[in-house]
């Protein structure tokens, strides 16, 4: 554990030395870095451009847990699965240890920072002197804050080309459409929470679209059953995505017919005069009338009745909201589709209410793919001498057909600032590893009116330097400007940042003295304000031609349309090097550690493909092999492959796992995930998928229960039903002197996002076991997210249920333990004493919920071959939780370490623990607040109230185990059974 020492020391230095005015913790100032007491630093999550605020829990100089920043307007304290896993980017075993350069043999060798910088400086100076600045390009991930600004001014000062802010998912179609329809080149803010009806055209807003955490929260607020009211969500997509599974009505359309449907719906609205008053009907008629409903129905496979019903529901919502995303809007009709969706919103009078220009999304700053295409050409033509890559991995994220790899060979000097050995970085001549975002200064503005401030939450784990610092010093040297002068007068990026923030201070808090403002901003994790909605008008002219036909796809006309979609776990692939994300099951398929091709059951039957058979997928542009996942629900004309796996580099966890579907896509100007048809051939090989859930059929066991909206309303009116005749016991009821801890989970709020699963893994040091073990039912998740389905397999009702130890009052696991390793505490917890366990495993046999986890292998000792925490991952381990050893049983403790901390705090103030004071990790991170935890003895506590809800029930109640966890039935919409 050398690293612990060094880094702890380092942060102690950081904490004491430079800290007081530079790094400020969220709650306690860092100069009192007390062992055993956590300091919290607020910063911004950079796992995707959504820009959620996070607070990092720093223990003895190392960050051990991330939580959402409760004050942050984007995520309000929640984090998604990827945000939780950011720590494994920070502590990734394969992270680059320091700067490297390619030697003559082409192998990467470590170098000194000075040497590395010198190399770069010489090359740049040469070019700048010769006035060949245009031969320099910076390609960065989207940086909407001051790093972005620095990069731009840096490029300017060197006379380089305009930097490229590359995001594989840049939603450019939306702002193009906005420009066309409203003359405003912007991605509006979608206020889902204020809509009564959401009509989504493939927008996976609960998974990756724009800002998933914010959307999930907003969605629950409009959709979850509350006081007899609940919003409606209609989702149009060929594939049953996680978002689709959350819809009250999932409409399965033929791939690429979204525009057609949108226009058809618009037409119905106009025909029935349902449009909002004051809209430009003429304009709308121009667009919608040419569409033939019958034809649209025929091509999209959505009946005219459904179209009409959708139109009515949507238009009558007042307000509703229509959104488009996912593969729907990356087809050849991407812009047209978004345009039609804009018009729908316009027609229904949602623009300005739920669709707000003004607080525009930062995605608009991402460079359009066309420009990336141009750059590729320039490179290919040898126009580029120096390419600087900042956290961009085009070699993975662009289809090979773009020829980026070939073009790259023409670039004499490729400099990568990435700190992970990804595909592009492996090609780099020079690697200057940037700090991880959790070690960096910076800021990020996800949308107008929100600026998140980033500060180092711990000292660097490895010998990396902030890219900002490097740019400044390199810039200075290239321009030969003396220290403190010139465009790069700042010694460090931190100084630059602080100075830039004086401007932000003037904007946000003109009256406040800057130092106070700065401190405040560091504490709160940024600044934010309300931005007024900008009024927009639909342009009457020019009348844009409407397509009125499905998006065109190339390839074998007999083939199946390929749907390539963003992965909820890996986003564009940058998550794939994090073992937590690899082992967290994909909620819909429950597949772990691999990628797959979703094949419609009909097709599979025809081709004789069984689950796990290796299938060769051939498109006009390439071919890949993937194991098949046979799907009852997928549109029979399509196959689907998630993006994110198939890395050829990027560390031990990502390398050579699955296949990259982008290989199948065409090159050219735009990046379109729906543009080819593919053909499938059985290779004869097999690669069984590691699927965590044995079956999605509850076999009438009523594990996840639901109730119709009408019935739910009735229950609500009748109020809490009297306690069901609980199972008689020979014994007197247990007494709980102070507390009885319990939980309540609202299945109507749970969207199955898996964030809780990873939060639990991070908080409780749960080991990662690998594909084979998961496949053989030996996964260690304390909390698992189950998907149950009912009804027609091709169009099922989906129920998501987080299952963990139910802490039964009459726990079957306890009396069978021969050594009292399992027993009941007087606070109602079902305790498990690891040190006492001899591993008879009787408890898990007797656990009806099968939530106990056994250490089959030695995950905790570095000597073991199954060691789960290669360096520096141990730095992440929560010091408050034991790392369990070989041969013992473990399980959910309701985060007992947090309960203890909470009680200590309360005792210091001589008071009982307040409701909501202690939060379990899963509850804390839940974007939809589906989980409540607290003291059941206090009738006013949230958990007690929810437990008394008329929708409440216990899983397998008939066994009389009296769980401390109450589930609230999901509320289904009658018309949801489409």
């Amino acid at each position: 554990m050398k690293i612990v020492g060094s880094s702890a020391g380092a942060v102690a230095a950081a904490g004491c030395g430079q800290a007081p005015e530079r790094i400020l913790p969220y709650v306690i100032p860092p100069d009192n870095l007390i062992p055993g007491v956590a300091s919290w630093f607020s910063t911004v999550c950079r796992e995707c451009p959504a820009g959620c605020g996070v607070i990092a829990r720093n223990r003895e100089g190392r960050v051990v847990k991330l939580e959402g920043n409760p004050d942050h307007p984007v995520n309000r304290g929640a984090l998604c699965i990827r945000g939780q896993a950011a720590l494994q980017g920070l502590y990734n075993p394969d992270r680059l240890r320091g700067p490297m350069r390619q030697d003559a043999s082409g192998a990467l060798k470590p170098v000194k920072w000075e040497e590395a910088e010198k190399l770069l400086v010489e090359r740049l100076t040469g070019l700048v002197k010769q006035g060949k600045g245009k031969r320099i390009v910076v390609m960065s991930q989207l940086e909407s804050g001051n790093l972005g600004r620095l990069i731009e001014s840096w490029a300017q000062a060197l006379g380089a080309r305009r930097p490229i802010f590359y995001e594989p998912f840049n939603y450019e179609a939306i702002h193009h459409a906005s420009r066309l329809v409203f003359g405003r080149d912007a991605i509006p803010h979608y206020a889902l929470e204020e809509a009564n009806v959401i009509l989504s055209f493939g927008a996976d807003f609960l998974e990756s679209w724009l800002s998933p955490v914010e959307h999930a929260r907003a969605f629950t607020r409009m959709h979850a059953f509350k006081h007899g009211k609940a919003g409606t969500f209609i989702h149009v997509e060929p594939r049953l995505s996680l978002t689709a599974a959350n819809a009250d009505e999932w409409v399965r359309n033929a791939p690429g017919t979204e525009e057609l449907l949108a226009l058809a719906i618009l037409k119905v609205i106009l025909n029935e005069g349902l449009q909002a008053p004051g809209v430009d009907v003429a304009l709308l008629r121009n667009v919608a009338m040419p569409v033939d409903l019958e034809a649209a129905a025929g091509q999209s496979g959505v009946s005219v009745e459904t179209i009409k019903h959708i139109a009515r529901t949507f238009a009558k919502a007042k307000p509703g909201i229509a959104v488009g995303g996912g593969v729907a809007v990356t087809s050849t009709l991407a812009v047209e589709t978004q345009r039609a969706i804009h018009l729908l919103n316009y027609a229904a009078g949602n623009v300005g209410r739920t669709v707000r220009f003004g607080p525009d999304s930062a995605f608009v700053k991402a460079t359009p793919h066309a420009i990336v295409g141009l750059l590729t050409q320039l490179m290919a033509q040898g126009e580029i001498d120096v390419l600087l890559l900042i956290h961009a991995n085009p070699l993975f994220a662009l289809p090979p057909k773009w020829g980026f790899a070939e073009a790259l060979k023409k670039v004499p000097l490729l400099v990568s600032f990435s700190n992970q050995p990804d595909e592009t970085t492996e090609q780099a001549h020079l690697i200057l590893p940037d700090l991880h975002s959790l070690e960096s200064w910076g800021d990020f503005s996800p949308r107008e009116g929100v600026v998140g401030l980033m500060q180092p939450t711990m000292a660097p784990v490895f010998d990396s330097r902030a890219v900002g610092d490097v740019l400044l010093s390199v810039g200075r040297q290239v321009l030969g400007s003396p220290a403190g002068k010139g465009p790069f007068r700042w010694e460090t990026f931190a100084e630059y940042l602080k100075e830039q923030w004086r401007g932000i201070a003037r904007e946000y808090a003109p009256s406040m003295p800057f130092d106070q403002f700065w401190e405040e901003a560091l504490r709160r994790g940024g600044v934010w304000k309300d931005v007024a909605t900008a009024p927009v008008q639909a342009r009457s002219a020019p009348v844009f031609p409407i397509q009125g036909k499905p998006a065109s796809v190339e390839g074998d006309p007999q083939g199946l349309t390929l749907l390539v979609y963003p992965s909820q776990r890996f986003y564009d692939g940058r998550g794939a090097n994090k073992p937590w994300l690899q082992e967290a099951p994909d909620t819909m398929t429950q597949v772990t550690w691999d990628s797959w091709i979703e094949v419609p059951a009909e097709v599979a039957k025809k081709l004789g493909i069984r689950q796990g058979d290796l299938v060769k997928v051939t498109s006009p542009h390439g071919a890949i092999e993937l194991p098949a996942y046979v799907s009852e629900s997928l549109h029979p004309g399509a196959v689907a492959i998630p993006i994110g796996q198939g890395h050829t580099a990027y560390g031990r966890y990502a390398k050579d796992r699955g296949a990259n579907p982008l290989t199948l896509l065409p090159g050219g100007a735009g990046l379109s995930f729906l543009s080819v048809k593919v053909t499938l051939t059985k290779t004869g090989g097999r690669r069984p998928l590691a699927i965590a859930q044995a079956t999605h059929d509850q076999d009438d066991r009523e594990i996840a229960q639901h109730v119709g909206l009408g019935a739910a309303r009735e229950l609500e009116l009748r109020g809490a039903v009297p306690e069901k005749a609980s199972h008689p016991s020979m014994y007197p009821d247990l007494k709980y002197p102070e507390y009885r801890w319990g939980m309540a989970v609202d299945l109507d709020a749970c969207t199955g996002c898996q964030a809780c699963v990873i939060a639990c893994k991070a908080e409780n040091n749960v080991p990662v076991v690998g594909k084979e073990q998961v496949a053989y039912g030996r996964d260690m998740h304390w909390l698992r997210l189950e998907r149950w389905q009912e009804g027609k397999p091709e169009h099922p009702e989906n129920l998501f249920l987080p299952m963990f130890c139910q802490h039964c009052e009459i726990a079957p696991c306890e009396p069978v333990c021969p050594v009292f390793a399992a027993y009941h505490t007087e606070e109602g917890l079902n305790a498990q004493i690891y040190n006492r366990c001899v591993g008879t495993r009787y408890c898990n046999n007797n656990c009806p919920y099968k939530v106990r986890r056994f250490n089959w292998w030695d995950y905790s000792s570095p000597a073991s071959s199954s060691y789960a925490f290669p360096d520096p991952l141990p730095l992440q381990l929560n010091p408050d939780v034991t790392v369990r050893q070989l041969g013992v049983m473990e399980k959910c403790t309701m985060c007992v370490q947090r309960i203890v901390a909470g009680k200590d705090a309360a005792r210091d103030e001589k008071r009982p623990v307040r409701d909501g004071e202690v939060q379990t990790a899963c509850q804390q991170t839940c974007p939809t607040q589906a989980i409540a935890f607290g003291n059941l003895k206090d009738p006013s506590s949230r958990v007690a109230k929810l437990s008394r809800s008329p929708r409440g029930y216990h899983v397998l109640e008939e066994l009389g185990t009296r769980p401390a966890v109450t589930y609230l039935k999901k509320v289904t919409r009658e018309h949801g059974k489409a």
Binding site: A692, Q693, A694, T695, D697, Q698, D699, D700, R701, I703, Q773, Y776, G777, R778, R784, E786, M803, P812, P815, V816, C817, P818, V819, F820, R836, C837, V838, G839, T840, R841, Y842, N844, N845, N846, P848, Y849, K850, R853, F854, N855, W856, W857, D858, S866, L886, G887, V888, M889, L956, L959
Partner: protein, 444 residues
């Protein structure tokens, strides 16, 4: 009892014939020993690997937290029942035919229990802490949980082992004395010590006879309790197919059933190789056959009860579990069990089958297989399809646990083979007792 010539053996004959079995063994014997020892070594290596690498080396998983180890454990405990049953219960019933087979049966019992006793250790995730199940005083007041069926096991099995051993040794005492008097040199010394200086005086005999009766009286409830307790490992659990009051008698009967089968498997070769036809006669085989038949019929009745209650209870979990066992992945094992335990023994209705050694032998082997699978079917498929569909799964044995299970058989046979060459495997004294006493005047 008569020998092949139809002549009744005299007291002296008995001594001679029995002590003859202890003559230095043949090369064939050593050959067998070598084979068994080899298998045992493999088993020990497998166990060592498992201790080093962890339980993962055995094919267990969620939901089959238990699998072949507990199966084999229960199997051996079951085998361990016949001995005490024959020596104790048949003794109380004064069934004279028991005398010539009870010694072998008792040895089998002791060794079977010794084998079974290994499995709780093999099976524990941290076997190096298994001693925590014993109630031993310690400064932290850490005591076992006496509510746990596993602790009941510890008590039941250790008691059973102790009593069986004592019973066994007490029975041996006069025989050892006889061997002592028949042997010379160092052997005489060793047997002399082991015989505790038994002389067969009237005072020794009268206390001995009393004590023996009391042992039988104690052992009888014990033998019934042990397998009941073992059955409660399952009956006390919630698992569908386990949680049943039927289990105690069901297990005890199964135990006796398999126990007798094992006795036959052991004594038939003994009688053949040592030509003990004068002592182990067809009458004995016939009686054993009848007992196997009866216990088999009782067992079949329990099988029916099991299925009936599962269905009649209307309990969804019970029904689903039974249906799954009978029709899905493990159906082959399920029906094999019925074939071996309910169908095959029916041939013993024919007297000729009961005395025809090959038939009897095959039946016994099949019964043993069937009984192993009965326990397998309770544990592996039972757990495989329990309450929670999310974790349902199929168990696959690994080389490690397979070797350990096979090794346990080797362990048993190495003990038994060793025993028959150093101790009389037919009771000298009790066989004599069943012969008419030597008298001078016939008219007396």
């Amino acid at each position: 009892m008569t020998d092949s010539a139809g002549r009744q053996p005299t007291y002296a004959d008995v001594n001679r014939d029995v002590i003859r079995t202890l003559e230095p063994p043949s090369p064939a014997y050593f050959g067998w020993m070598a084979v068994v020892a080899l298998i045992l070594t493999a088993g020990i290596l497998a166990w060592t690997w498992q201790i080093y690498a962890g339980m993962g080396a055995a094919g267990k998983r969620t939901p089959q937290m238990w699998a072949m180890y507990i199966t084999t454990f229960v199997f051996w405990i079951g085998i361990g029942h016949a001995g005490t049953l024959i020596s104790a219960i048949l003794y109380l019933f004064r069934a004279r035919w028991r005398t010539s087979i009870y010694r072998g049966a008792e040895a089998m019992t002791v060794f079977a229990v010794l084998t079974a006793g290994l499995f709780p250790l093999i099976h524990a995730g941290r076997m190096w802490f298994a001693y925590w199940l014993l109630p031993y005083p310690n400064q932290r007041y850490l005591w076992p949980n006496f509510r746990s069926p596993l602790v009941w096991d510890v008590f039941a099995i250790s008691t059973y082992l102790t009593i069986s051993v004592v019973f066994f040794c007490v029975g041996l005492l006069p025989d050892i004395a006889a061997i002592r008097d028949a042997s010379t040199g160092w052997r005489k010394k060793i047997y002399g010590v082991l015989s505790l200086g038994w002389e067969g005086t009237d005072r020794q005999w009268r206390h001995y006879r009393r004590a023996y009766g009391l042992f039988a009286a104690l052992a009888t409830p014990l033998v019934l309790s042990v397998h009941s307790v073992v059955s409660w490992d399952f009956a006390m659990a919630l698992v569908p197919g386990w949680h049943s009051t039927l289990f105690a008698p069901f297990f005890v009967d199964g135990a006796i059933f398999s126990g007798f089968a094992m006795v036959l498997v052991l004594i038939i070769p003994m009688r053949y190789f040592w030509n003990l036809y004068a002592y182990i006669t067809d009458k004995h085989l016939d009686a054993m056959g009848k007992l196997i038949l009866v216990t088999s019929l009782v067992l079949s009745y329990f099988y029916l009860c099991e299925a009936f209650t599962a269905w009649y209870s209307g309990d969804h979990f019970e029904r689903a579990s039974l249906f799954w066992k009978a029709t899905k992945s493990y159906a082959w094992a399920f029906w094999l069990q019925y074939f071996c335990n309910s169908l095959v023994p029916l041939v013993l209705f024919w007297r000729r089958a009961r005395t025809h050694t090959p038939t009897l032998y095959v039946v016994s082997i099949l019964v043993l297989i069937g009984m192993w699978f009965e326990r397998f079917n309770i544990i592996v498929p039972g757990l495989g399809h329990d309450f929670y569909p999310y974790t349902w799964g199929i168990y696959w044995p690994t080389l490690t646990d397979t070797m350990i299970v096979i090794g346990s058989f080797a362990w048993f046979f190495i003990l038994f083979l060793g025993f028959i060459k150093v101790m009389p495997s037919v009771s000298i004294v009790e066989v004599k007792e069943t012969l008419p006493h030597p008298v001078k005047e016939a008219h007396h």
